[in-house]
């Protein structure tokens, strides 16, 4: 009996986490943020203070894991992507700085530096706290969702990364990043079962980016959110509008499915 329960749970779980279910645009949006954070050497919450200890690739438990602390490195922002530093040791060698003095030795872990972080302090949703990943964007990982319009990334120059990220240029790249942020937020809410909240975000997107680069994605999400929220008629209408505007959209199946049209 309990055997069957476990097997069913495992099968159900694996189906639920099927990689095919991961939307490409979510993957791309996260990648844009990753590339930006790495480029500016942004610290990661929970990996910010204390010491940097080299960990071996293999896991060890207890001490080993506890030692996987990467503190200063983030603040030091020493990663090659961001800097033109000549000395590769900080980026490539196991760093063993252990004292606050050590991590602050180049003056990077100042409040100003932390303020420059693009990584929010996580924990709760706090929409306002979600950073705008802005424009270091980066060749797409998955089929290119129009990221080709992104400008070349502003880069830190000199021997050390700048303590502040370059302010985002008000151009297509930052607009795209903002669009992606809004849609990722809407998608998260939809996945969390908060269809109404997702619709509010989508309305915001529609207002600010009526003809935005991610309009297709917005329409698809909106159709799904409407149907999930129980407004099947409006959802199908939005789905039809999507089909009309983007006849070959890859979102059509999913949208139809969410509105119950795919079931026989």
């Amino acid at each position: 009996m309990s055997d069957d329960i476990l097997r069913e749970l495992v099968e159900g779980e694996r189906a639920a986490l099927d990689p095919a279910e991961t939307p490409d645009d979510a993957k791309q949006a996260t990648w844009n943020r990753v590339a930006h954070s790495v480029a500016i050497g942004a610290p990661v919450a929970g990996f910010g203070a204390g010491k940097v200890v080299a960990a071996k690739a293999g896991l060890s438990y207890g001490k080993g894991l506890a030692a996987l602390v990467f503190a200063g490195a983030a603040a030091v922002g020493a990663y090659e992507l961001a800097s033109d530093r000549d000395d590769p040791s900080v980026a490539s060698a196991p760093v063993t700085a252990t004292s606050p003095a050590a991590s602050g030795r180049e003056g990077e872990s100042t409040p100003a530096r932390r303020g420059a972080s693009s990584v929010r302090d996580d924990e709760d949703e706090g929409d306002a706290a979600v950073e705008v990943p802005a424009p270091v964007v980066v060749p797409p990982v998955t089929p290119p969702p129009r990221a080709a319009t992104a400008r070349p990334a502003p880069r830190a120059t000199g021997r050390r990364p700048e303590p502040e990220p370059t302010p985002p240029p008000a151009d297509a790249a930052s607009a795209l990043a903002e669009e992606a942020r809004l849609l990722a937020d809407a998608r998260r809410k939809l996945q969390a079962g908060q269809a109404r909240a997702a619709l509010i975000v989508l309305d915001d997107h529609a207002e600010r980016f009526a003809h935005g680069q991610l309009r297709e994605d917005r329409m698809a999400l909106r159709a799904r959110a409407l149907c999930r929220a129980g407004d099947l008629e409006a959802g199908r209408r939005e789905g039809a509008a999507l089909r009309k505007a983007f006849p070959s959209s890859s979102h059509l199946d999913r949208t139809a499915q969410a509105c119950g049209d795919a079931t026989p």
Binding site: M1, L9, G12, T22, W31, D122
Partner: protein, 184 residues
């Protein structure tokens, strides 16, 4: 060192990070969920994993080493993020009881419930057992692959998987028992 070389190194590092992201995004995403990160926090957690992992990614040559490194970082990130999960556990268990009345094989809602239930049950396991179960049962790695990822012996990986299954069955049966009592 001339600037151009440094730029070249930077480009190579970025290309490598991008490739790792493309190759391992799914693995990291699933692992984080299984390690207890809630669905609405998982994108942020994926971001954190790759940003942290990027710092040493270039040290790892083969795919297995990269997987291992990413999993190690994911464990850390998940520890930080999943404090939120504890708050939801009671609700999750309520959902859990529903899962058993459906058939996860077909029904997407039941699959979702099954995932939540299993993830809640996984949080009751000891770290070592949980990690073995995630890699071998859910990721379907071989004993050898899981052992390499976790830095343990193959026999140890198998015995951890066995123990994990036993404990999960016991927990699942317990839940089922509660359900029976409730509906009686």
């Amino acid at each position: 060192m001339p600037l151009s070389i440094s730029r070249g190194a930077r480009k190579a590092a970025q290309a490598r990070l991008r490739q790792s992201y493309a190759d391992h995004y799914g693995f990291v995403w699933r692992s984080l969920r299984r390690l207890g990160v809630e669905e609405d926090a998982v994108d942020d957690a994926v971001h954190d994993v790759f940003v942290v992992a990027a710092r040493r990614l270039h040290e790892f040559e083969d795919r297995a080493a990269v997987t291992s490194w990413l999993f190690a970082v994911a464990i850390r990130v998940a520890k930080h993020k999943r404090r939120a999960l504890a708050r939801h556990l009671r609700r999750t268990e309520a959902v859990a009881n529903r899962a058993k009345t459906r058939t996860p094989a077909r029904d997407p809602y039941a699959q979702h419930d099954a995932a939540r239930t299993l993830h809640a049950l996984l949080q009751r396991l000891d770290d070592k057992l949980r990690h073995a179960f995630i890699l071998m049962e859910l990721e379907q790695m071989t004993g050898k692959e899981a052992a390499a990822t976790l830095g343990i012996k193959v026999a140890t990986a198998h015995s951890r998987l066995r123990l994990a299954r036993e404990q999960l069955r016991a927990h699942a049966a317990e839940l089922a028992g509660q359900d029976v009592r409730r509906s009686a």
